[in-house]
Amino acid sequence: MNELRSKAKELLDSKAVDLFIGYEEGTRLPRPLIATSAEEADRLIFDERCTGNLAVYLTRKDLAAGGRKVGIVASYYAMRSISRLLDENQLREGAVKVFGLTQDGGLTLFEAIADVKQYLQETPAPSRQVEDEWAKEIAEMSAAERWKYWTGELSKCFKCYACRAACPMCYCTRCIVEVNRPQWLQPWAATMSNMEWQLNRVMHMAGRCSDCGACGAACPLGLPVHIIAHKMTEIVRQNFGEPTETGNVLSTFSPNDKENFIG
C-alpha cells in the first residue's frame, strides 16, 4: 500500500499524471478516490476488498478528457475494460498508466495499454464460479419458471440506471433510453419496460462487456442484472469467439455470421 501511495505521489508531483484513480477507505467498504494531489494520494489503499471497476471514470469528460493523463488501479476485469476502451478509441495510448492487480495479488505498473493487453492474453481470467452457477441454475429452469424469475426480479427495478452509470462500456453521451424521437424504449418503470431496458442494455454490450459484474454490484435493489450480461458474454464467446482489436460482434458484420438464433 505504501508503495502504491509513493508511486502515485511521485506521478502526481512530477506531472506524469494529472489524476490518480484508486480506492480509499469508505463507510463500510473501500470506495473510489480520484486524487489530484500528492496530499490526496495519501488516502489511497488497496486490498482484497477493492473489487470494483474504476475504468468507468476514464471516459468521464469532466475528469479524464481533454488530454489529461491518468493513473488508475485496475482489477483483471477493469484491465479488460481498459483494453476494450482503447479498441473503441475512447482512450489514447500514452494517456493511461495502469496499476493492475496481477496473479501474485500485488499491483504491477503497466506503462502502456499494449502491455495490459499482453498481460490479459497470457493470463487466464479469475474464476466467475458464482455467476456461472447462477446462470446455469437459471438456464436449467423451464421457460415458464425462467419467465417468472425474471419478471419477478425486474418488476422491482425503478430505473435509477445505476447499472448503466457503473458500466465502463456505457459511455454514450445520449443513451437509447433517453432518445424520444422515436421513443425506442418506454422510459418509465414497469415490468415489461424494465425488461426491455435490461435486454437493450445487455445487447449493446455484446462482445464488449468485460463481465466485471459492476452493473449488478451497483444495483441498489440487489437485482441480478449482471447475470444477464454474464450469460450474454458466454453466448457471444461460444458463437463468435473473443473480440479482436478490429472489432467486436456488435460493431462488425460478417456475411458468415450465424443467424440460427433467429426464430
Binding site: T27, R31, P32, V56, D62, K159, C160, A218
Partner: protein, 339 residues
C-alpha cells in the same frame, strides 16, 4: 397524546382485522436479503428485523409510475379525455415505516401542495393511514438526530408503535383521529398503558453536525470548490433520489398507443441525471455532475427550508446505503460545517 399497549402476540390479529376491513396493507417484507414495502396478504409476511428498508414508503403516495389521464380520438375527430380517477385509489394502511420516513411526508406534502395542489398525491394521502415503528437500532448511515429528527418521533405517523419491555409488546401512541379509528378496530387487543417510557427503548443516534451551521455555510458556498471535490466519484445515477423518502422530482411521459389513443404518465426522475435540465436548445444549465450535486444539496437544505419551511432530508441515510460509490451524505454535510 393518548397511549395504549398491544402485546406482540395480538399485533397480527389487529393487522388482520385492519385488512379484513377491505384496506390494502403495505409492510416491510424481506426477500433475498433486501427489505422493501410490499402489499401483504397476511401479517405473517411482515419482517421488522431491518434498520431501514431499501426503499421508502413514498411510493404509496407518489408511485414510481402513475397514469394522470387517458385520451382517445373519436372517429369524428373529437378527443375524449378520461381524467385522473381518484375513486380507483384503495384505502391503505402502511405498517412499519420508521420515524424518518414518516417525517418525510411533510416535505413531500410541501412540494405537492405548493401553489397548485397535486390531485393524485393528495387523493392518495387522504386514503392512507401510517403506522410508524420507532427505531431500537441504528447503523453507521443514520443521522436523523442531526436534521431535527428522533428515533422515536411521532411526526407524520397516525399511530407510532415502540417495542417495549423485552420485545413482548408495543407502546402505541395515537397521534391522529385516523390513527384512533384504526386502533378502535382492534377493540380489546389494545390495553391501557401506564408508566411506560419509550425513551428507554430507543436507538441512540449520534448527532453528526450542526445543521444550522451546515445550512448557513452551504448557502454561501455556491461558487465554492467543495461541490466538485465531493462529487468527483459520483456516477450520476438516480439511486439516491429514488430511495429518498423526500425526493419528489418527476418526469411527464406519453404512452401513445397509436391511432390517437394514449396515456399521460408521471414517473420518477432525478436531478442527478444529465438530461434533467437539458433545454431543447441543447444548452444545459447544469452540465456537470458537480452542478447537479450542488443542486441536490441546496434544494434539500436551502431552497426547501426557504420556500416550504421544511428540509428535504430526514436523515434516513438510504442515499448513502444505496450509493454504488459510497457518497455518504452525513459525511459530506459535516464537511460544510468546517468550511
Amino acid at each position: 397524546m393518548e397511549q395504549k399497549y398491544i402485546p406482540k402476540a395480538s399485533l397480527k390479529a389487529w393487522l388482520g382485522k385492519v385488512r379484513d376491513d377491505g384496506r390494502r396493507l403495505y409492510a416491510p417484507v424481506t426477500e433475498n436479503g433486501k427489505t422493501s414495502f410490499r402489499r401483504v396478504k397476511s401479517a405473517d409476511e411482515i419482517s421488522m428485523e431491518h434498520v431501514q428498508t431499501a426503499q421508502s414508503a413514498k411510493g404509496v403516495a407518489f408511485p414510481r409510475t402513475e397514469r394522470l389521464f387517458s385520451y382517445v380520438r373519436q372517429p369524428d375527430g373529437d378527443v375524449t379525455l378520461q381524467d385522473y380517477d381518484p375513486s380507483a385509489i384503495p384505502d391503505t394502511v402502511v405498517f412499519g415505516l420508521r420515524p424518518c420516513d414518516a417525517a418525510a411526508l411533510k416535505p413531500l406534502s410541501g412540494i405537492f401542495g405548493w401553489d397548485t395542489e397535486d390531485k393524485p398525491f393528495s387523493e392518495r394521502m387522504r386514503r392512507v393511514v401510517f403506522v410508524g415503528v420507532s427505531c431500537s437500532r441504528c447503523d453507521a448511515f443514520c443521522f436523523c438526530t442531526s436534521v431535527g429528527g428522533h428515533p422515536g418521533s411521532a411526526e407524520g405517523s397516525d399511530i407510532l408503535l415502540t417495542v417495549v419491555g423485552d420485545g413482548e409488546g408495543y407502546l402505541a401512541e395515537i397521534v391522529t383521529d385516523r390513527g384512533r379509528a384504526l386502533v378502535e378496530k382492534g377493540g380489546d387487543l389494545f390495553e391501557s398503558a401506564t408508566g411506560i417510557s419509550k425513551e428507554d427503548y430507543l436507538a441512540e443516534v449520534p448527532v453528526r453536525f450542526s445543521v444550522e451551521e451546515v445550512q448557513r455555510k452551504m448557502a454561501g458556498a455556491f461558487e465554492g470548490d467543495i461541490w466538485k471535490s465531493q462529487s468527483a466519484r459520483c456516477l450520476g445515477c438516480g439511486a439516491c433520489a429514488f430511495v429518498c423518502p423526500a425526493c419528489a422530482c418527476f418526469d411527464i411521459q406519453e404512452n401513445a398507443r397509436g391511432s390517437g389513443a394514449g396515456d399521460r404518465i408521471r414517473c420518477w426522475d432525478s436531478c442527478g441525471f444529465s438530461l434533467f435540465t437539458l433545454h431543447t436548445s441543447g444548452h444545459n444549465p447544469r452540465s456537470t455532475q458537480s452542478q447537479r450535486w450542488r443542486q441536490r444539496l441546496l434544494h434539500k437544505f436551502c431552497y426547501m427550508p426557504q420556500r416550504l419551511s421544511v428540509r428535504g432530508c430526514t436523515g434516513c441515510g438510504r442515499c448513502s446505503r444505496a450509493c454504488p460509490v459510497d457518497m455518504n451524505l452525513a459525511e459530506h454535510l459535516g464537511e460544510f460545517e468546517h468550511l
